[in-house]
């Protein structure tokens, strides 16, 4: 398919074109060019998704290897899950560009440039079938993200947040690159399929393979905000402009998980296949820890974007649980979960941006009741919150149900509990903040919320609230509706079978054989998943209401709670050296566990 490279080429050409002419053209021209390019790439991504039924390869520079030959160029292998992810990220970039029509003022054409680069790079990242190409595209995503976090930042804390983010992400990239170098030393190849084939033929699962796996996994988990790699992501989300934070939450973190899954199933699944159990246990542990810690942390934030960031991390932990089950159903669950979460979470961040623009604040307690006259924003906020609460047959329900069922089949009875805890904790925080801000319900003070430095609103001439509200509302309802689309789950299961079939992937990419037919996806709702979804929905709403009046708890109780949370708060110090120490520590622990269990 000749249109595949256009997915990245069009936004990139548009980005450089806008940068080239941005100084002279009026700001509207940059916006229009941005919309047009983003819309074109969204349309192309949709075409690619529809036509990527099996796996479609594309060889850059015309270096298509002969059947069974060595790939000497860079190849992409487009499968339905990758294409769907590209569509999601380009679509959200488009939505955010529409939303930010006149949202930011200074040098705004550069904002359009960076968003386009971000979208193109994330699309390239998920479609690529070459491990070094994946690395390059992730660096491109990261550099665009570093620049976006510092956009219009004035106070010191935002700038420090973006500095911490950039340093930590860069070190994560070194881990990945180290792993790539090791794999290259063993196999002498960079194409994922070729590396996988050579590792399978070699059969050794020695220190090199385990270390490469550990480094690549930890490097990408560090980019996906898993505990203890989440600190700098919280800072980055809090300081970035709302639309940028939205795409970080909805796309960028998930890219890290996508890479873990993609590389595991194309490179390591064969050679490390006999160690599925220990790998599953380690990754499930990381996911569960992240889900629980982040859900707790989201209950302690008063800065709305920071609270939403922790809510995202809680869900990211759940996505990792889905992937870590190392079963197509779990992967499918994570995929549909990522879709509905991405839409809903983007809507929430965009509402945060609306509050900042229209009411000049982003602090839950300072904004108490100030959102009363913003009905559109309020509806978008609560609809998105409900979508994240996994209500029956709506929102993140299908994702939850698929992961729960898959975990149940594998004997992990505790997974539904962790998912419910993460969902209730993080959604309750969103509902609590919404009740306070939009309805003035609850108390004006809260003993458990942390101190936050204030953020100044972006310089704004005429807020385009109508456009902003419309985008947020559409995304929120789309997030809710994604769960109601019953055919989606079956499609996702089908696609996930293809995604996790290493042998078929290698045959398609290297031997130009058609993809082996994956079993038709099917999925039936079980009673237990409906029960769990009622639990999470009711629990989220009740806890959300209850948290607005935490100040009325007896003083000894609040004091004890606050004291209990002090160490958890203290580790989130905002100090880059601490973050890097945690990064090294986490890598050491996860890598050590993998090394000990895989022998």
């Amino acid at each position: 398919m000749a249109v595949i490279p256009l997915l990245v080429a069009i936004p990139l050409v548009a980005a450089t074109g806008v940068a080239l002419s941005g100084k002279w053209l009026p700001g509207v021209a940059a916006d229009v060019a941005g919309f047009a390019a983003a819309a074109a790439s969204v349309a192309l991504a949709a075409v690619v998704l529809v036509r990527s039924g099996g796996i479609v390869t594309y060889w850059f520079g015309g270096w298509r290897p002969a059947r069974g030959g060595f790939p000497i160029g860079i190849g992409w292998a487009v499968d339905p899950l990758g294409a769907a992810f590209a569509l999601l990220s380009l679509g959200l970039v488009f939505a955010c560009l529409v939303y930010s029509w006149r949202y930011l003022k200074s040098d705004r054409y550069l904002y359009v440039v960076l968003m386009l680069v971000f979208g193109a790079a994330s699309a390239g990242f998920v479609l690529s079938g070459d491990i070094f190409n994946i690395f390059v595209f992730f660096e491109l995503v990261s550099v665009a993200a570093f620049a976006l976090t510092a956009y219009e930042a004035e106070e010191s804390s935002p700038l420090q947040g973006s500095f911490n983010f950039a340093v930590a992400q860069t070190i994560g990239a070194f881990l990945v690159l180290f792993g790539i170098a090791l794999l290259y030393g063993r196999t002498g190849a960079l194409n994922l399929a070729e590396i996988g084939r050579r590792l399978n033929a070699d059969g050794r699962h020695d220190g090199l393979v385990v270390t490469a796996f550990a480094l690549i996994t930890c490097g990408f988990l560090a980019k996906a905000a898993l505990v203890p790699f989440h600190f700098w992501h919280a800072d980055a989300h809090a300081v970035a402009p709302a639309p940028a934070a939205a795409v970080f939450s909805a796309v960028m973190l998930e890219l890290g998980l996508f890479a873990v899954a993609r590389i595991y199933w194309t490179v390591f699944a064969g050679v490390l296949g006999q160690f599925e159990h220990p790998i599953r246990d380690v990754l499930l542990g990381v996911g569960a820890l992240t889900a629980v810690v982040s859900a707790l942390m989201s209950g302690l934030q008063r800065h709305l974007k920071r609270m939403l960031a922790y809510s995202t991390f809680a869900h990211v932990g759940c996505f990792l649980i889905g992937i870590a089950l190392l079963h197509p159903d779990g992967v499918a669950g994570a995929a549909v979960y990522i879709l509905s979460h991405g839409l809903a979470k983007t809507a929430l961040f965009l509402v945060g941006g609306i509050l900042l623009t229209a009411r000049g604040g982003i602090d839950e307690l300072q904004m108490f009741g100030l959102g009363r006259r913003l009905p559109g924003a309020a509806v978008a906020w609560f609809v998105a919150a409900i979508a994240l609460a996994s209500p029956p047959f709506l929102g993140t329900f299908t994702g939850h149900a698929l992961i729960d069922d898959s975990a149940g089949a594998a004997g992990y009875w505790w997974v539904p509990i962790v998912l419910a805890f993460a969902t209730i904790g993080s959604t309750a925080a969103i509902i609590r903040a919404g009740l306070r801000v939009f309805f003035g319900i609850g108390d004006r003070d809260d003993p458990l919320l942390s101190e936050e430095p204030a953020e100044s609103p972006p310089p704004e001439e005429k807020p385009r609230l109508l456009v902003m509200n419309t985008v947020a509302l559409l995304l929120a309802f789309a997030g809710l509706a994604a769960g109601a689309w019953t055919g989606l789950a079956a499609e996702a299961v089908h696609a996930a079978h293809r995604f996790t079939d290493q042998i078929s992937y290698i045959h398609v990419v290297l031997d130009h054989r058609p993809a082996a037919s994956a079993p038709p996806g099917e999925w039936v709702t079980t009673t237990s998943s409906v029960v769990w979804s009622v639990v999470t929905l009711v629990g989220s709403i009740l806890l959300g209401f209850a948290s607005t009046i935490r100040a009325r708890l007896p003083r000894p109780v609040t004091r004890a709670l606050a004291a209990g949370f002090t160490p958890l708060r203290a580790v989130h110090s905002g100090h880059i050296a601490d973050y890097v120490a945690w990064l090294v520590f986490g890598t050491g622990v996860i890598g050590g566990l993998l090394a000990i269990t895989i022998r």
């Binding site: 010191s156 180290f178 300081v239 989130h572 905002g574 880059i576």
Partner: protein
């Protein structure tokens, strides 16, 4: 084996520098040191004894050369490193700009 171990050594030394750093510009330089370990690792992997550089000037193309791929990867890596470093230092300068300090422990940052 020594060059590989050198890469590990430099990687850890760079990390140590970052963790003990008291100045954001110092931190950035340590990040660059850390990154240089990946150049060394890549080039050391592709090195072959009694081989020459993969540039065929006047020499017949049948002779033994070192791996050109790792060199191309290292080139990309170096460009990425320079780009990221200048961005990091610009960020550090802006932090200084707004808080009059480059010491991360003196800057009141994000907490909790």
């Amino acid at each position: 084996m020594l060059p590989y171990l050198l890469a590990v050594w430099i990687f850890l030394a760079g990390l140590y520098g970052i963790v003990t750093s008291r100045d954001l510009i110092h931190t950035t330089v340590c990040v660059s040191v850390c990154q240089s370990s990946t150049y060394i690792l890549l080039l050391a992997i592709g090195y072959r004894k009694h081989a020459t550089a993969p540039v065929y000037g006047d020499i017949p193309s049948s002779r033994r050369v070192v791996d050109p791929i790792v060199q191309a990867l290292t080139l990309t890596d170096i460009v990425v490193a320079v780009a990221v470093s200048s961005l990091l230092i610009a960020l550090a300068l802006r932090v200084y700009d707004s808080s009059n300090s480059l010491d991360p422990s003196q800057i009141v940052g994000q907490r909790g």
